[in-house]
């Protein structure tokens, strides 16, 4: 059996992170959770991460800063952004941040799952939706 993909969730709402963690774990991912951008960067430094699912507004280091840091280290890492609202001045829609997808909260975890599969080049799931 191949090593499962390692997904890092950066989200300060513990309850939301827990539910998504459980949801993705059930579907065969290895999931880690970080409460803010700094913690997420620390995990990046220590572990091999295959994709990042991140909130934008977080204490200490927010999603924007986290994505900028990540892109300097890894230009290809798939990034999924979950946000309460996107400010008008956010440039995350710009091509230079790709591969990156943005979803508004409340997010549909099935959509997150399908997006991760597509970005990681996995065959589309058939068992459950």
């Amino acid at each position: 059996m191949p090593e499962p993909f390692h997904i890092l969730i950066a989200e300060d709402e513990v309850l939301a992170a827990m539910a998504l963690e459980d949801f993705l774990s059930l579907r065969g991912f290895r999931v880690s959770v970080a409460g803010n951008g700094i913690e997420a960067l620390e995990r990046f430094a220590r572990e091999k991460i295959d994709a990042l699912v991140t909130d934008l507004r977080m204490p200490r280091m927010d999603g924007h800063a986290l994505i900028r840091e990540i892109r300097q280290r890894d230009a290809e890492l798939p990034v999924v952004v979950m946000t309460g609202y996107l400010t008008h001045d956010s440039d995350l829609t710009h091509d230079r941040w790709k591969p990156l997808e943005i979803f508004s909260k409340p997010v549909n975890p099935r959509t997150i799952h399908a997006t991760l599969q597509r970005m990681l080049g996995m065959p589309p799931a058939t068992a459950d939706a």
């Binding site: 709402e13 309850l15 539910a19 998504l20 459980d22 949801f23 309460g84 909260k105 409340p106």
Partner: protein
């Protein structure tokens, strides 16, 4: 007696003076005519003097005229005696009369010289005339000034009134000006000279007499706002009373000026409403974020349970936990919604006695999470005070939120300039006497230009860039605090950690907590 006197007058060998003149009729006639005329004239002069002194009672040194009268009568007598001695040689009598004349002359001359310096300083009629002219000019100027002041009194837009404090301590209206008459609908003629209690309706009299007594008893100026039911309807007046004292320090008069602020009050309330909308606008972005969080959690847990249900991997504990979470999150959202609802209410609720600390905590709760996301920490250093204040809790909360929002903007701006910041301190303290309390909101956002400090409570004044603030916030806050009978001040402060920031201090009149029950029982 007759014998002695006769002896004295006895010729004793003297000859009549006519002998010396050889009884020449022409010489005799000349002497007789001259001396008689002189004598009679001399007798008439004192009469004129006496008549003058009698008519001019205001004459200074009138007694000198008497002295002159005596001296002149004596002189006149010597001349008449000179006629007498032409035939009768009564030279002793003549000598005695001359001696009397000499004494009177000497006394008059001496007195005259003695009085001379004082007589010289007596104003001459010319001088008096000049003085009179000057006085008339002075009176004209005074009259002009008086008419100018009475024109001020009658034409100023400010409502003015003068209250007499009677010796028994009661109050009566001396005058009210036309502006006051217009503003209140009271009739100046009906008020003039009447006791306050007779001139006004009992409720209005009670209200104003309380203030008049305070001004009379303290002897100090007071200013206050009062709501009065007047002939023109219910009006709000901002009134100032100034006590006037007599030489003994007793307050004998109160000068009052008043301004109808009913319209301004209404506009201020309007502005509070506008500012609420503005505050709501800035809060809306935060609200969207705040609402999306619980919604997200609900969605994720619902999906999670559904997935487990379909995969037959569901245990009752997990369902229980998930549903409890969902309920908790809906409550979190309901609280947010409630808050927005009450916030938008127009009247801001009725005034009531409340714990300001509850308000402050509510404001902190509303933004704490949102600010934490931006690394802004709200530090509460509320001394546990159970003092109460009187006002509208929502307005105070709005004000506190506004201060937080300003603090946040300052912090973010300072960070934008590359400097560290991120703390908002909230201090609440009560004075020992329990009559005032202070709320301080301090940030470490660098403070503001001292030259701008006096202007920050002006409407539409803002230090923010165009589009970032309407500048209504602090002026509204000023109105809110003012209505609560308090004051609000701003100052730059150096913090112990070396940062600099702005401190807004709100001082409110307060009352001990024990009075809450009494107030509530009124409601």
């Amino acid at each position: 007696m007759a014998t002695g006197f006769d002896e004295l007058l006895d010729p004793n060998g003297f000859v009549p003076h006519g002998v010396c003149l050889l009884w020449r009729p022409d010489i005799l006639a000349l002497h007789i005519a001259s001396d008689t005329l002189i004598g009679l004239s001399y007798f008439s002069i004192p009469l004129a003097l006496l008549y003058f002194v009698h008519r001019r009672r205001d004459l200074v040194f009138g007694w000198v005229a008497l002295l002159f009268a005596i001296f002149i009568v004596a002189c006149g007598t010597t001349h008449l005696l000179a006629v007498w001695t032409l035939w009768n040689p009564d030279y002793l009598l003549e000598g005695v009369v001359k001696a009397i004349t000499a004494l009177a002359s000497l006394a008059t001359a001496a007195t005259l010289w003695w009085l001379m310096p004082r007589l010289l300083v007596l104003p001459s009629p010319k001088e008096l005339e000049r003085t009179n002219t000057a006085l008339e000019r002075e009176i004209a100027v005074r009259r002009q000034a008086e008419s100018r002041y009475s024109s001020f009194f009658n034409n100023l837009a400010e409502a003015l009134f003068i209250v007499e404090v009677r010796p028994d301590g009661d109050f009566a209206y001396e005058a009210i000006n036309p502006a006051l008459a217009r503003a209140t609908g009271l009739n100046p003629e009906q008020l003039r000279g009447r006791r306050v209690r007779d001139a006004l309706s009992p409720e209005v009299a009670d209200a104003v007499l309380g203030r008049y007594s305070q001004c009379r008893d303290t002897g100090e100026s007071i200013d206050y706002e009062e709501v009065l039911s007047l002939p023109v309807g219910q009006r709000v007046f901002h009134t100032m009373l100034v006590p006037m004292k007599d030489a003994n320090g007793r307050v004998v008069q109160l000068l009052g000026s008043g301004r109808d602020v009913t319209e301004r009050r209404r506009l201020q309330e309007e502005m509070v409403q506008t500012s609420k909308l503005a505050t709501l606008g800035t809060l809306a972005a935060g609200m969207a974020h705040e609402m999306s969080q619980p919604l997200n959690i609900i969605r994720l847990w619902a999906e999670n349970i559904l997935a487990r249900l379909r995969g037959n991997a569901l245990d009752p504990d997990r369902v229980d936990r998930a549903l409890t979470l969902v309920i908790d999150q809906t409550e979190r959202m309901a609280r947010l919604i409630d808050h927005v609802r009450t916030f938008g209410r127009r009247d801001g609720g009725s005034t009531q006695v409340f714990h300001p600390v509850t308000c402050i905590n509510s404001a902190i709760d509303l933004v704490r999470h949102q600010y934490a996301l931006e690394d802004i920490e709200i530090v509460e250093r509320a001394a546990s005070t159970d003092l109460l204040v009187d006002g509208r809790p929502l307005e105070l909360e709005q004000l506190i939120l506004n201060l937080f929002s300003n603090a946040r903007d300052a912090i973010l701006a300072l960070r934008g300039a590359g400097r560290a910041a991120g703390r908002i301190m909230v201090d609440v303290s009560g004075e020992q006497d329990g009559h005032t309390m202070a709320i301080q909101v301090t940030d470490d956002g660098g403070g503001i230009d001292p030259a701008l400090l006096p202007r920050i409570f002006d409407p539409f004044f803002t230090t923010k860039e165009v589009g970032q603030g309407a500048g209504l916030g602090l002026s509204i806050g000023y109105g809110i605090v003012d209505r609560m009978g308090g004051r609000i001040d701003a100052a730059n402060v150096d913090l112990e950690d070396g940062h600099r920031g702005l401190r807004i201090t709100i001082i409110l009149p307060s009352q001990p907590a024990s009075s809450l029950d009494r107030e509530l029982s009124h409601a």
